[in-house]
């Protein structure tokens, strides 16, 4: 049968007003339901008629999913809080700046006004074969088109590829890993809280999803503990265009430095693999070392050990090496006078 894109299909729209109702609806509909947050990822899928859910559960009417609240140990951000609110929130700007910086570099102002933090971390891969509806591994097929002799893979994975070479495109995900954030998930059995890095999965675990949510489950909030409040942060995203572009790579780090020595550190990169990578080996290697360029250089080299380039993405290896170096050793800034 012929294929047509760019026309939104018909579906039943359900608009619950509470988390309990939303979870129940998702439970009832199972695999037929599509969870709609800000829509910035969903509408592409729906308009292209590649995903044709029977039911769309729109979370925008659930007040308890929105807003940023202080907790006994840090803050809690509702999953439906917009990226713009995250960028502008005074506590996030003051104490968890790496998150504000990463959120500010997502897409464009219009998309940040509509897109949510929960949506940003739960978005699907942007591999151009997968997004165009090619029947690849990630779409339950049995081939990776990007990893073929003539496949185009400039924006694909250099690490942990397993049949599929797509990458996770989220900018906020590595920042949340650096902050040791906790993801709150509502299931039929109640609430489950997991570490940020455990929210994301690679193709070795699940080749059809970038995250752990199962049908009937809902990400409700992201908690940021105070352990890293006010730490020394670094975030950098490299993209082709200065706005409205996914990362070629990004890096986020949080360091506690005392007398020039790295006491504690968390660091993550995204755009290198199907999940944002927490670089534990790097963390272990630099802990106790001087927070300087030499340590950064060592860390950069360590970070890309085992990286395997595809035909068109070898640049990601020096790029990741340099971003990790800068996250730890800092950037040698220009001192132009004009």
């Amino acid at each position: 049968m012929a294929v047509i894109r760019d026309v939104m299909p018909a579906f039943e729209l359900l608009q619950p007003s509470s988390i309990v109702d939303a979870q129940k609806l998702l439970q009832q509909q199972g695999r037929d339901a599509w969870v709609l947050a800000g829509g910035m990822d969903s509408f592409d899928w729906l308009k292209d008629r590649i995903k044709k859910p029977k039911v769309v559960v729109d979370l925008s009417g659930i007040a308890e999913l929105k807003g940023i609240r202080a907790t006994s140990d840090g803050i809690e951000i509702g999953a439906m809080t917009t990226l713009t609110e995250v960028v502008q929130h005074p506590v996030i700007k003051e104490k968890f700046k790496v998150l504000a910086e990463s959120a500010e570099l997502v897409a464009s102002p219009q998309i940040r006004n509509q897109g949510t933090l929960g949506g940003n971390v739960s978005q699907d891969a942007r591999c151009w074969y997968y997004r165009a509806g090619w029947p690849c591994y990630r779409a339950d097929g049995n081939i990776c088109y990007a990893d073929t002799p003539e496949g185009r893979n400039r924006e694909h994975a250099i690490l942990h590829a397993e049949r599929c070479v797509a990458v996770n495109p989220s900018d906020t995900a590595p920042a949340l890993i650096a902050l040791d954030a906790k993801f709150v998930i509502r299931t039929s059995k109640g609430e489950r809280v997991i570490d940020a890095e455990d929210y994301f999965v690679g193709p070795d675990i699940d080749i059809t999803s970038l995250h752990v949510l199962k049908p009937g489950e809902l990400l409700t909030a992201i908690r940021i503990p105070s352990a890293w409040a006010g730490a020394q942060f670094y975030f950098e995203k490299v993209r082709d265009r200065n706005v409205w572009d996914f990362p070629l790579l990004n890096v986020a780090s949080a360091m506690v430095v005392s007398n020039g020595t790295i006491e504690r550190i968390r660091i993550a990169v995204n755009g290198a693999a199907a999940r944002p990578l927490r670089l534990k080996a790097v963390e272990d290697a630099v802990r106790g070392k001087a927070a300087n360029a030499a340590t950064g250089t060592m860390a950069g080299k360590l970070a890309v050990e085992g990286a395997v380039p595809l035909q068109f993405n070898a640049y990601k290896i020096p790029l990741m090496r340099n971003l990790v170096k800068r996250a730890i050793g800092g950037v040698e800034e220009a001192t132009w006078t004009s």
Binding site: M1, A2, W128, R154, N242, F312
Partner: protein, 854 residues
């Protein structure tokens, strides 16, 4: 870097205030255009905003394969769906019509040209059929119920692949167009037109491919060739000879308004609502596509959301709603989605170029051997390949030059002219070589361009058979633009500044010459002076965003001495009677139509003087026209324009439009006949002489900052200094100079196609994948200026501007990058972090220039 810090970094000094149009009241002055309010408030109606009673919607079924034959189509399930009204297929299209030239000769239709629908798709995304239904959702669901069986056919995406011995052909007959010469003329008859081109096959030899070194474009036999001067002594005596290969990207036009069209039939006439660059000239195109008489076509196109060459006379797909409308006897709207526009919306062809250039030690280009091939897509040959040679010959005034080229067909979407077709690519291929030569010869980048750039009646292209001479430009003041631009940009200060590298950042400055054609001649103007004393300009120009549709008439109002507030402009609906007007393509409108407006205003002035003499006595030359009156010179009897218009109606004949001048085009005469009796009607053909071909020029300056650890770069500063003749409307001119510079920058900054060559499928179908530049990719405070020196070969002095800035926008950034990073980084555009980082790592260019679409 956050968006905020991008803005902060690029805040150069404010440009000096320029005063344009000295000595004029309207020419060279800013004014609010009559369409401004509607545009900024959203009241403006684009094609999609029109609705008609009982309107249906249609959707297209696009080919999933790059080349195939449709074996069988089963539409029964689709037609059985409630709400589905009709399906249109290729065999229901009218046969392609021949066209008639103004001198009565016939141009035979090319039966191998593109049509709106096909049973042998030649590219992925080519429309096969259309479904009309009560709404778009129904139409889309119906398309999903259609079963099509295809027979896949050989296909090719890369022009070099089809040129290889035994390489696949994109069409069953071959891979190039072959043009037979025109037959000789019968005695006393106008010369006949050449027959339609046929498709032939061009293959290069194994040796041709083997002779090219790594990264070099192979050079086999090509059908196009011209030369002038003697290359051998040039190369022999050259202080420096460079032989470089460079490849430019395929770039979609990506107009914000897609080629949406709505149509219905009324009393035998088809009414078409669509965006087009040209209003009057789209009528004959629609008539030809529908094979009906132009008098049965009404086109409504008040606003067009961008064209850049992709909608010179609308798009051929507009016949789909027109034919469906006829079939179901109801209005049909065809909204083109972004996905569809990506395939059918036209694109600039990539050029693969190789240039061998000999320089004197002073940097003069003494010999140039240029070889280019283009990736044309499957249909009509575009002029980019020949145009690239002409523009390079003009812009660098090469002492001896050979140009060779071929337009190669492939199974990729159809190309069309895109702002500076061929010029942009020729400049992008040549400029990095000039920059490299300057570095090797120890010359300043502005100085080397200064000694090569055209001046005055500069020669262009090869010797013409007709007169044995090389044609020349009407004028060129590019040296002045280069000098003034260098001064305003503080070129010398920027070059002298040290260090070039600080921390991980390197800065580089680049300059580029740029030019393109800037005007045609011989069109008509038409205006009405009403008994109420208002002047109504009948504007057949398209409202494509340049404001030429309004601006050119300021030249007419200035001649008549009428305040602009007393002028009205009729535009956007061909039922409202327009004169024979140029197409708005090739940057010709401002030049062509200010000439026509000037001629028409002179005709009005003459008629006013004659009416005054008839009414008040004396001779016409005793009267002058000013201050909304025609009156005796030195004071005395006179009449208002309104009174003169009333008198014109009384007099009839030549004065109120009943007797048109014989040299007017038949379209103008028909419009005059419809307007006759409404007032004083003036119409005139532009018969002014012109010595030379009209071109406009730009000197472009840029500074970039590159982070060598990430490969990311920012354009820190940009200036375009234009030589476009007299300035008509500064604000619109600035919009064109900078807007088209940005169009050019996109080719360096990342705009491209990504194709999977194994499947012949485009992967970059969305903006975030094909990456047109955004407003944050260019400096916040870009600058422009214009010389405002009138062109001596046109009465108003104005030349066109749309296309000339494009090549400079692209090449000034390329040159700034090589100034920052050296000559061993890139060999094709766009240039991004991947290219920069891998080449910096390896210390040599790491991307094969001939492997595109990645």
């Amino acid at each position: 870097m956050s968006e905020e810090s991008v803005k902060k970094e690029s805040q150069p000094a404010k440009a000096p205030e320029r005063v344009y149009g000295v000595g004029h009241k309207l020419i060279g002055k800013d004014y609010p255009t009559p369409d401004l309010y509607a545009k900024v408030t959203g009241l403006a109606k684009y094609a999609e905003d029109y609705h008609a009673d009982g309107m249906l919607f249609c959707k297209l079924l696009l080919s999933p394969l790059p080349h195939a034959r449709v074996k069988h189509i089963d539409t029964r399930a689709a037609l059985a769906m409630p709400g589905v009204k009709a399906i249109l297929m290729a065999d229901e299209l009218p046969p392609p019509a021949d066209s008639l030239t103004d001198n009565g000769t016939v141009i035979k239709a090319n039966l191998k040209s593109e049509r709106a629908l096909t049973m042998e798709p030649l590219y992925q995304g080519e429309p096969i059929l259309a479904v009309a239904a009560v709404d778009e959702l129904t139409a889309a669901e119906a398309i999903e119920q259609i079963r099509i069986d295809f027979e896949p056919l050989p296909f090719v995406i890369d022009p070099l692949e089809t040129l290889r011995p035994g390489g696949p052909n994109p069409r069953l007959e071959g891979n190039i167009w072959v043009q037979a010469p025109a037959p000789s003329a019968a005695p006393g008859a106008p010369p006949p037109n050449p027959p339609p081109p046929t498709i032939g096959e061009l293959k290069w030899t194994k040796e041709d491919f083997a002779n090219a070194k790594e990264g070099q474009l192979p050079m086999g036999k090509v059908p196009g060739e011209w030369s002038y001067g003697d290359l051998d002594p040039g190369f022999k005596n050259a202080a420096l000879v460079l032989d470089e290969t460079f490849v430019t990207p395929d770039t979609s036009h990506q107009t914000l308004e897609t080629r949406t069209a709505m149509a219905y039939w009324q009393n035998g006439k088809v009414h078409v609502f669509t965006g087009t660059q040209s209003t009057a000239q789209t009528v004959p195109a629609i008539a030809r596509w529908l094979n009906i008489d132009p008098s049965n076509v009404v086109l409504i196109s008040e606003y067009t959301g961008g064209g850049f060459g992709s909608k010179i006379t609308g798009g051929v797909t507009l016949v789909i709603p027109a034919l469906l409308s006829k079939k179901v006897n109801a209005p049909v709207m065809m909204r083109i989605s972004r996905e569809e526009e990506t395939f059918i919306g036209r694109a600039r062809p990539s050029l693969m170029g190789r240039m061998k250039v000999g320089f004197s030690k002073e940097g003069r280009v003494i010999a140039l051997d240029m070889f280019v091939i283009s990736n044309n897509g499957p249909y009509d040959a575009n002029g980019d390949v020949p145009s690239s040679g002409r523009i390079v010959s003009l812009l660098y005034q090469c002492e001896a030059m050979r140009w060779r080229g071929a337009t190669i067909l492939t199974n990729t979407p159809p190309r069309s002219a895109q702002s500076s077709p061929g010029g942009m690519q020729g400049i992008a291929i040549m400029e990095p070589i000039i920059a490299k030569a300057a570095r090797k010869l120890g010359l300043d980048q502005v100085a080397i361009r200064r000694i090569n750039c055209p001046e005055g009646k500069a020669p262009v292209g090869p010797v013409m058979k007709s007169d044995g001479k090389r044609p020349h430009a009407t004028s060129a003041f590019l040296k002045e633009a280069l000098d003034r631009g260098a001064e305003q940009f503080k070129w010398n200060e920027r070059v002298a500044r040290t260090p070039k590298r600080s921390g991980t950042k390197v800065r580089g400055v680049g300059v580029s010459l740029s030019c393109y054609v800037g005007g045609s001649i011989g069109f008509d103007g038409l205006l009405v002076i009403t008994p109420e004393g208002r002047v109504r300009f009948q504007s057949g120009i398209g409202n494509l965003g340049t404001e030429a549709v309004m601006d050119v008439h300021r030249a007419g109002a200035e001649v008549l001495g009428v305040p602009w507030e007393k002028c009205d402009i009729t535009w956007g609906d061909t039922a409202k009677n327009f004169p024979y007007t140029c197409v708005s393509g090739g940057s010709q409108t401002t030049h062509a139509m200010t000439r026509a407006a000037y001629a028409t205003a002179m005709d009005a002035k003459k008629k006013l003087q004659e009416i005054a003499a008839k009414s008040l006595g004396g001779k016409p030359e005793n009267y002058e026209v000013a201050n909304e009156r025609v009156f005796r010179k030195g004071g005395g009897a006179g009449m208002t324009l309104g009174q003169a218009a009333a008198k014109a109606i009384q007099l009839g004949g030549v004065y109120d439009g009943h007797e048109p001048s014989a040299d007017l085009n038949k379209l103008t005469k028909a419009s005059m006949a419809a307007l006759a009796g409404q007032g004083l009607i003036a119409a005139a053909k532009d018969n002014y002489p012109r010595d030379g071909q009209t071109y406009s020029y730009v000197a472009s300056f840029a500074e970039v900052e590159v982070d060598v650890e990430t490969g990311k770069y920012y354009i820190v500063d940009f200036l375009a200094y234009a030589d476009v003749g007299s300035v008509i409307h500064p604000r619109a001119l600035g919009g064109q100079v900078l807007g088209r510079s940005v169009l050019g920058m996109g080719h360096t900054l990342g705009q491209k196609w990504v194709y999977d060559p194994h499947y012949g499928a485009m992967l970059s179908t969305r903006f975030y994948q094909n990456k047109p530049p955004t407003i944050l990719d260019v400096p916040v405070n870009m600058q422009w200026a214009a010389l405002d020196i009138p062109d001596p070969e046109t009465p108003v002095g104005a030349r066109g501007v749309g296309e000339p800035p494009v090549g400079g926008g692209c090449a000034s950034i390329l040159n700034a990058l090589s100034d920052a990073l050296g000559d061993e980084i890139f060999r094709r555009a766009p240039v991004n972090a991947d290219t920069i980082l891998t080449s910096l790592e390896a210390g040599r260019p790491m991307q094969h220039p001939l492997m595109a679409h990645i």
